[in-house]
């Protein structure tokens, strides 16, 4: 009990950013623990077991159940390729802007949790297979001929599909391979294929940008952004098959595919020369 007090809270302090206050709390908690340069849990049996369970629930959805990469990159070769504990900790804590790798909220994910997950991944540490080879220049040509009408790279190309300027950091080669050959089923949110039918009978195909109980917003195949009232539609059908065609061996030879993957793997951010 602090006793009776009568404090009129000054309304003048409205301008103080409450958002900053939130992150300040987080920083305060982060500072309390001095981060070691090396993983203090490395090689500890219980930490590896716990870290494995945490990996399966928090990481495996993107990095694959064996950490060999699915939507997110293969992690098993991280240290062999020169990565450090400090670097991986930073990536997990801060995320990677422009990719689906989000920052770990300090309110929910403790430093200890991150170290335990890393102790687990470390047990999977593998020497990377010989670096994949391919003709990136030919891959770029294949891309221009087949992909750029829908995908943008460094501000050039179509916009029906996701921008691929950083796809080399965001996706492992195996994931891109699966997507092109039609064996991967992941569709990024905001690109779900949809067909709508108006009351007048017009069929419009595109990708869904947003939807609520009474309306849907899409980009149609000609890249027209448009919202529709469901009252004016006779059907809204979400489809499982991406609007991106499957590039089977009949459309894309193994060699061209390999060259395309070589090109895509090298896309790691805006190309300074194109600015």
């Amino acid at each position: 009990m602090r006793g009776t007090l009568s404090v009129v809270v000054a309304a003048a302090s409205i301008a103080i950013s409450l958002g900053c206050a939130t992150s300040a709390f987080a920083q305060d908690r982060g500072r309390a623990e001095q981060r070691p340069a090396k993983n203090p849990y490395e090689g500890k049996a219980e930490a590896i077991t716990n870290g494995g369970a945490m990996f399966r629930t928090r990481c495996a959805g993107c990095h694959g159940p064996d950490a060999h990469g699915y939507l997110g990159p293969d992690l098993t070769g991280f240290w062999a390729a020169g990565g450090t504990d400090d670097r991986m900790f930073d990536i997990v804590r801060k995320g990677i802007p422009g990719t689906e790798m989000i920052a770990a909220d300090p309110m929910r994910v403790l430093d200890r949790d991150i170290w335990q997950v890393m102790a687990y991944i470390r047990t999977l540490n593998a020497v990377p297979a010989t670096a994949p080879s391919g003709d990136a220049a030919n891959g770029a040509q294949v891309f221009r001929a087949n992909c750029s009408s829908c995908h943008m790279v460094n501000a050039r190309g179509g916009q029906l599909g996701p921008d691929l300027s950083r796809i080399g950091s965001a996706r492992p080669r195996a994931g891109l391979h699966a997507k092109l050959r039609g064996t991967g089923n992941f569709i990024r949110p905001g690109y779900e294929p949809v067909t709508i039918v108006t009351r007048a009978g017009e069929r419009i195909r595109g990708v869904r940008k947003n939807e609520d109980e009474f309306s849907i917003q899409i980009m149609d195949m000609r890249e027209r952004l448009q919202g529709y009232l469901k009252d004016n539609l006779s059907e809204v059908r979400l489809e499982k098959q991406s609007v991106m065609p499957v590039y089977g061996p009949d459309r894309l030879s193994d060699r061209d595919l390999n060259d395309l993957l070589q090109y895509l793997a090298g896309l790691r951010g805006a190309d300074a020369t194109s600015r």
């Binding site: 009776t4 409205i14 716990n50 959805g61 609520d212 109980e213």
Partner: protein, 542 residues
């Protein structure tokens, strides 16, 4: 001397004139009494309690807005907080003024006719706050000319209804150990009753009563049974002191039955959330409803919905009191649509189970046996490699308040079908740190959210309206047969008996609270918080 006398005389004349003017033009400022709180929504210009009335029915007697004219409902004003975060509060209304709390320990008095701010309250919060699920608050309680609220740093404060100034400020517990205050208080007679949140951080939950005049603590009930408490034997296993960090949060206020003088509270999950290996036993009184004597806090009865909870099935939903004719007998019951997926009807004098039926798909338990215990399904324990269980940890419903229409005997619940893969691991307790012992991967392809109407006499589903996105919206129903709920930013009006959608308005931000309704100047308003905006609706005047 003479000058002073003249001044005294002037002041006296002004004072007399002022009091005459007041007497002639306006009623004296209202003092909210304990009887006013018992009267619930009888006076249609008021909304004085989080759940509307003490039974938390959120059922308004107002009938100006009807299924026939609701299509003319139009936005009248909006109020924006100029803060980040979101409203999770239910506003209170009295004498044409709205009182509402916002994120990061803020609060406002607002003109109920126009949305114009009258005063603003803001607490200086200490650094290092810990709150698992948002820096939010669920609203004020009121008595006399004071408002009461819990704070994110686990205090309870009394605020002047006239100015927003703090009148007393009592720490409930040390917030540095993971405790926070988010619930609206329940005011009963001369006491302000509230609890603490933080079961994701190894707290020991409790419900406290404070003297409304002084802020002095009157009683405390711990939601985990300690040594000497009945039920302490339900905390066994390798951790001898598991009860000390055993969870049992309070997120929303309880109900109150004045005749039985009992107050009913839903309690949160046991901690750590997903790993029960160190806390064998039922872990009383987590994931339960407790009936406490309002004067003393003594436990009259308890019913545990999820014994030995390992799925984060908090029972922090609203207990709803109703008088139902069941088997030809008028029964005083408490209705409880639980996060664990079952809808319960309990005798509120004894706590005896009358009926429990799933209102969504459940795979952790098949059914609730007549003795009140769940019949657990095999292979439903969280594990290192993951165990699929329905519903997921967000549950069949959550803290968003339902509404009960006694005229239709329907409970309207924001519900959700879902499944998740539950993982568990070993975690050591450290003060103030997250203490969950696992996590859940939600299976997004297997979920959908809806407004579901449950027939309280049979436990059967009467109708549902599927939402496009997950909804966190509370529900309001009215005597004219309307239901207000929503999703995806849409406030939606339904016909209560059929579920037919009659009207909607896109507010532009996600709804994390329920609507209220009140009369001012013979006009019925519906007030809905969304994001950091309040929107007031009324029938278009034509």
């Amino acid at each position: 001397m003479r000058a002073v006398n003249v001044r005294v005389l002037q002041v006296a004349i002004v004072a007399v004139a002022a009091s005459w003017t007041l007497a002639a033009q306006a009623p004296a400022p209202t003092q909210v009494t304990a009887q006013d709180l018992r009267d619930g929504l009888k006076n249609p210009t008021r909304w004085l309690n989080y759940g509307g009335d003490y039974g938390n029915q959120r059922y308004s007697p107002l009938t100006q807005i009807t299924p026939a004219n609701v299509s003319r409902l139009t936005a009248q004003w909006q109020f924006q907080t100029d803060t980040l975060g979101k409203f999770e509060a239910t506003p209170l209304v009295l004498d044409g003024v709205v009182y509402v709390t916002g994120p990061l320990d803020t609060g406002w008095a607002i003109d109920a006719r126009t949305g114009r701010q009258i005063w603003r309250y803001r607490r200086e919060l200490p650094p290092g706050l810990i709150a698992c699920c948002g820096l939010v608050n669920r609203g004020f309680g009121v008595l006399g000319d004071r408002l009461f609220k819990t704070t994110l740093d686990a205090h309870i404060v009394a605020i002047s209804r006239k100015t927003g100034a703090i009148e007393w400020d009592t720490p409930m517990v040390n917030y540095r150990h993971g405790y926070s205050g988010t619930t609206a208080p329940l005011v009963v007679k001369d006491k302000v009753i509230a609890g603490v949140a933080g079961a994701e951080y190894g707290i020991r939950g409790f419900i406290d009563a404070y003297d409304a005049n002084t802020g002095k603590q009157v009683w405390r009930f711990y939601t985990t049974a300690g040594p000497g408490d009945p039920g302490h034997g339900t905390w066994r296993g390798t951790d001898q002191k598991a009860w000390e960090n055993g969870g049992g949060s309070i997120w929303v206020p309880g109900a109150y039955d004045p005749e039985l003088n009992l107050t009913y509270w839903g309690t949160g999950n046991a901690g750590p959330d997903y790993n029960g290996s160190a806390r064998e036993g039922d872990n009383l009184y987590t994931a339960s409803i407790v009936a406490l004597d309002a004067d003393t806090g003594a436990l009259k009865w308890h019913y545990q919905f999820t014994p030995h909870d390992i799925w984060d099935y908090d029972s922090t939903q609203m207990p709803v009191l109703a008088d139902l004719t069941l088997g030809g007998q008028l029964r005083k019951v408490v209705l409880f649509a639980n996060r664990n997926g079952f809808f319960y009807v309990l005798d509120r004098a004894t706590g005896k189970l009358i009926r429990a039926k799933p209102f969504i798909q459940t795979t952790w338990a098949k059914e609730i046996r007549p003795d009140g215990r769940p019949m657990l399904e095999p292979n439903s324990v969280p594990s290192e490699d993951g165990t699929k269980v329905c519903p997921d940890q967000t549950g069949g419903t959550n803290w968003m308040p339902p509404s009960f229409s006694p005229s239709l005997n329907l409970l309207f619940v924001t519900a959700r079908e879902s499944c998740g893969v539950f993982f568990s691991w070993k975690e050591d307790y450290a003060a103030g740190d997250a203490y969950r012992g696992g996590a859940v991967q939600r299976l997004v392809d297997e979920q959908y959210s809806m407004l579901r109407a449950i027939d309280v006499l049979t436990g059967e589903k009467r109708w549902e309206f599927p939402y496009a996105n997950q909804s966190w919206t509370g529900v309001l129903s009215t005597a004219s047969g309307l239901v207000f709920a929503g999703s995806s930013g849409n406030v939606i009006a339904f016909e209560g008996k059929s579920g037919k959608q009659l009207w909607h308005f896109q507010t532009g931000s996600t709804l994390y609270a329920g609507a209220i309704t009140y009369m001012v100047d013979d006009r019925q308003y519906v007030l809905m918080p969304s994001g950091t905006t309040l929107t007031a609706f009324a029938l278009a005047a034509f």
